[in-house]
Assembly symmetry: C2
């Protein structure tokens, strides 16, 4: 149904509702067919919205795909806090590895990061809606752990994000070695204890 | 000049020479215009070879791009071995950060990894010609360091590759935090010493 027909037939839907519907439609295409299926044309058809509406809200189909992925995976952002950083990190990182090795999620996330390399709008949306908030949550958990005396005061906490989740992304994107929960456990142990004797 | 004309005019060039010329032409396009410029059409024209020859040797233009990048950057594979793993890693990782933050190399490497997410032939060629040999060299250096008593015997040496170079790739591909030589130095310190008190 065209936007005009909607307006005449049953009044204009509230913007928030339209936006949610578009994000849901984009997430559906992304998860079932991959990043290349997320075009303004196909999302507009699937959502019953006009392409004009989509153009108004998103600078590119890639940016829409990134926001849709985030809206879909928002609940996975939670970071357990039991007061024991070693246990919390192990739990969080094992859950992350299960997520990104799942056949329905791994290729989608890899595809988003892949296309982001040549699509600056997707890259910006991915950072704004997904990776930067995740990084901030992790650093906040590290700060609390440091205040509890579980991390050294002289550590740049940002690098721990790269040595844990970044190390997992490395095996997702450049699959030369296996990405397993055992690997996640070993990453946490080494990030905390170090490889030197 | 067509292949037929070459054969008549001055004899067929040796295969090795043709192959080198094609790789050089592909690297030139890759470094000057990016991954999307590396098509069989443009490489064949630039190398003065036939497209048939290219189809015979490479399963996809992406696979050709990956091999060209490797041939171009082969000398950067060297791993210093002074007998001090901390110093060698710091030198190697700082050189790696300089390489991947260089405006001529960083976007090319990011573009190759990006396209690899949706091009299995590029992914396989990248692994075979670039990332897997680099990983093997690093693990070999770690094994020597372990034999010298500079790394613990119970460490899975493969994860150190991800916590050092993989951490750098993470900031290249998902640029939420700065990728600098200071970062490289901090990565080495934490991978060896750990973040726990």
């Amino acid at each position: 149904m065209s936007e005009t027909a909607q307006r005449r037939g049953r009044g204009r839907r509230p913007a928030g509702e339209v936006r949610e519907g578009v994000l849901r439609a984009a997430a559906g295409l992304l998860l079932s067919e991959g990043i290349k299926a997320v075009t303004f044309d196909r999302v507009a058809t699937a959502a019953g919205s006009s392409k004009m509406t989509l153009y108004k809200w998103w600078p590119s189909a890639g940016a829409l795909a990134a926001e849709a992925y985030f809206a879909h995976s928002e609940h996975q952002l939670e970071f357990p806090d039991t007061g024991d950083i070693r246990a919390d990190l192990t739990a969080q990182l094992c859950a992350f590895v299960r997520l990104i090795t799942h056949e329905g999620t791994g290729p989608v996330l890899a595809g988003l990061i892949g296309v982001a390399q040549t699509d600056p709008e997707l890259s910006a949306a991915f950072s704004e809606h997904y990776s930067a908030p995740r990084r901030a949550l992790a650093v906040a958990a590290f700060e609390k752990a440091r205040d509890r005396g579980q991390l050294r005061a002289d550590i740049d906490l940002g690098i721990l994000v790269d040595q844990l989740w970044g190390a997992c992304y490395n095996r997702l994107l450049i699959p030369d070695a296996p990405l397993t929960e055992d690997y996640a456990v070993a990453l946490v142990a080494n990030a905390l204890d170090g490889a030197a004797p």
